[in-house]
């Protein structure tokens, strides 16, 4: 049994890597129809593995399916972090906080919705749209005044945010009575809280959660990004701790009784299907790849490589770092929304700052500055740590699975000794490769030069 399980798990991890390779390969194919057929097939393969039964369980059993969803949301979070840390060189421990913000925001929207309250969607939706307008507007206005100090600019944005928040709440409260009769209650869903409408609300909830996380990261990043990378790391750690504290006290110091503070938020509709997880993961991969391969992407890299040189080229360092931070946090927010609606239950313990090192480990493990590495490591890490190790050790006794937190740092240590550039270094597969082919030897020597 144990040997069979071990072989089965290794085969599974191998199959997942092959699957990811195939997905990136079809995405990178020149012909559009190959891309479309390939993506549909990639979706269908997993969907079938969830549904087709062999013997007494589906090909991917319930436990494995859970891992697939965890890995998909971890991919989004870790990709966002790789953009911030790997590609832009800003060491951040805040990704976990933005993940938490995304999870709770999206969960609150749909939870309220199915309980007859449309204000979650209205307030967050209107707030994040107005917030984006406000930020872009103030940015345009400030760019005309020259030399506004960061802290003054921050004050304007903060004031704008408070105003936008108040407006959103007022509008939300005003519109809610008209909408809530259509929502029914948790026991008797109304026309708008089932079927296609609920799917639309779910989609909007996740997008708005991402946008909201991005806007919070803008406000937080504006004063903090100018501190320099080490201080930025400390400040972002503080951010994750603040978010966690707010979650723990969401029903006392924050006006959100439905989040139930430290007891955890229950009753979140489990709306994340494989379709949605796959959809959002693909969305994040495609957005990030296109950002990196655009001129903005080169700017992001240039800032990491050498700030003085980047500045001499005419690059605005502060806004490049801020943009990267916002995009990365947006991804974390999306990942959080997907996770919340898969698991159906949110506990502040999940968003503890210690767990916040997980995406960092994944990004370093996969290779700083390699999207492929991050995607492969997210899946590999979850399946290895939560799948293989947990089950294997579980057979040795009820407490044995705890040993995996001893084993995996050792694995990490070994990897860092053998391959300090991470599993894949800066190598990319298929779709994620640079538009023209670079000779491979060059890439290796290049990373040596960078590190040397």
């Amino acid at each position: 049994m144990e040997l069979g399980f071990l072989i089965g798990s290794v085969v599974k991890i191998g199959a997942i890597l092959a699957y990811l390779y195939g997905l990136l390969w079809v995405l990178g194919h020149k012909k559009l129809w190959v891309k479309i057929v390939g993506v549909v097939a990639a979706f269908a393969i997993v969907q079938l593995a969830f549904t087709i039964t062999i013997g007494d369980s589906t090909i991917l059993n319930e436990f494995d399916s859970g891992l697939v969803f965890q890995a998909a949301s971890m991919t989004m979070i870790a990709l966002g972090l790789n953009l911030i840390y790997g590609f832009n060189g800003q060491f951040s421990l805040g990704q976990w906080g933005f993940y938490g913000i995304g999870a709770y925001t999206a969960a609150d929207i749909t939870f309220r919705w199915i309980n007859g309250d449309s204000r979650g969607l209205l307030v967050v939706g209107i707030g994040s749209i107005l917030g984006a307008v406000m930020i872009l507007g103030i940015q345009k206005w400030l760019s005309r005044l020259r030399g506004v100090p960061v802290l003054s600019a921050f004050t304007f944005y903060l004031f704008g945010s408070v105003l936008v928040g108040a407006v959103a709440v007022v509008i939300g409260n005003a519109l809610n009575p008209a909408i809530s009769p259509l929502l029914g209650s948790a026991y008797e869903p109304g026309p708008l809280s089932q079927g296609i409408w609920l799917q639309i609300v779910y989609f909007l909830a996740i997008i708005f959660a991402g946008v909201f996380a991005g806007e919070v990261s803008f406000l937080f990043g504006l004063p903090v990004l100018s501190l320099g990378s080490d201080y930025f790391g400390i400040a972002t750690l503080g951010f994750t701790i603040i978010v966690n504290t707010l979650m723990l006290n969401s029903d006392t110091i924050l006006p959100f009784p439905e989040m139930k503070g430290g007891r955890g938020m229950i009753g979140i509709p489990k709306l994340t299907t494989w379709f949605w997880a796959f959809f959002f993961m693909l969305m994040v991969i495609i957005i990030m790849r296109n950002v990196i391969h655009s001129s903005t992407g080169r700017t992001i890299l240039a800032v990491r490589e050498d700030e003085t040189a980047a500045k001499a080229m005419g690059i605005d360092l502060a806004s490049t770092k801020l943009l990267t931070f916002v995009i990365g946090s947006f991804f974390a927010g999306i990942g959080g929304g997907v996770y919340a609606h898969y698991i159906g239950f949110l506990s502040p313990g999940t968003f503890d700052f210690l767990a916040g090192f997980n995406p960092l480990i994944i990004v370093v493990f996969g290779g700083l500055g390699s999207m492929t590495g991050t995607i492969a490591a997210s899946f590999g890490w979850i399946f290895f740590l939560e799948g293989l190790l947990r089950v294997l050790l579980g057979q040795m006794g009820p407490d044995a699975p705890t040993w995996r937190f001893v084993l995996y740092p050792i694995v990490l240590l070994l990897l860092m000794l053998i391959r300090p550039q991470g599993l894949l270094g800066t190598v990319e597969w298929g779709f994620l490769k640079a538009p023209f082919v670079r000779p491979r030897e060059n890439q290796h020597t290049a990373s040596d030069v960078v590190e040397g």
């Binding site: 240039a302 003085t308 001499a312 080229m313 005419g314 023209f436 670079r438 060059n442 960078v450």
Partner: protein, 235 residues
Amino acid sequence: MLLDVKNLNVYYGAIHALQGISFHIEEGEIVSLIGANGAGKSTTLRTISGILRPRSGSVHFKGEDITTTPAEQIVRRGISHVPEGRKIFAPLTVRENLEMGAYTRDDPDEIQKSMDRVFVSFPRLKERLNQLGGTLSGGEQQMLATGRGMMSKPSLILLDEPSMGLSPILVEEIFNIIKEINSQGTSILLVEQNALMALSISNRAYVLETGRIVLEGNADDIKNNPQVKSAYLGI
């Protein structure tokens, strides 16, 4: 007057790096800034290009005050800074590095023209277009840094030790190229350890000593100044 620097005072924390420097550059000139290590040459260039802010004094470019203009705007106005120590973007290809130099420009045709001009000056770069910047030899990296500085179509280039780490033949080549860039209408502010070479292609020069200008004049006069001869030229 293309560039006019007046009474510039720059500090690094408590260190008073530039102590009231004034100088100017006329349109079409090559002007050298020479001085010992730590005299403040690089600091002067960084202040002009907006990477550093002076505590007092002013910088005027084409008659406009650019003392507090952000670095990215200064590039747009036509000053290009090739910083000390090459600072190539290692993971980008030669082409991408050059395109990075044209970051402030939009018209792809014009950018291509500038790139072609760089290739006339540095044919070696054209051969290595798709090689990663980090894998170029030291001399090639210096060429790339200089070429990248030409890509923003500047009217003034600030060159910080363009001959550093180059073999004697390459040094000569790079000075010829600087002269050629200048003859096509770009003014140049040149900082060099290799003072003799720098003076031989310059119109005028300033001698910097611990944050102060102690001597200025025609390049030939400076070259023949007995103090300069013994202190900087080693003859």
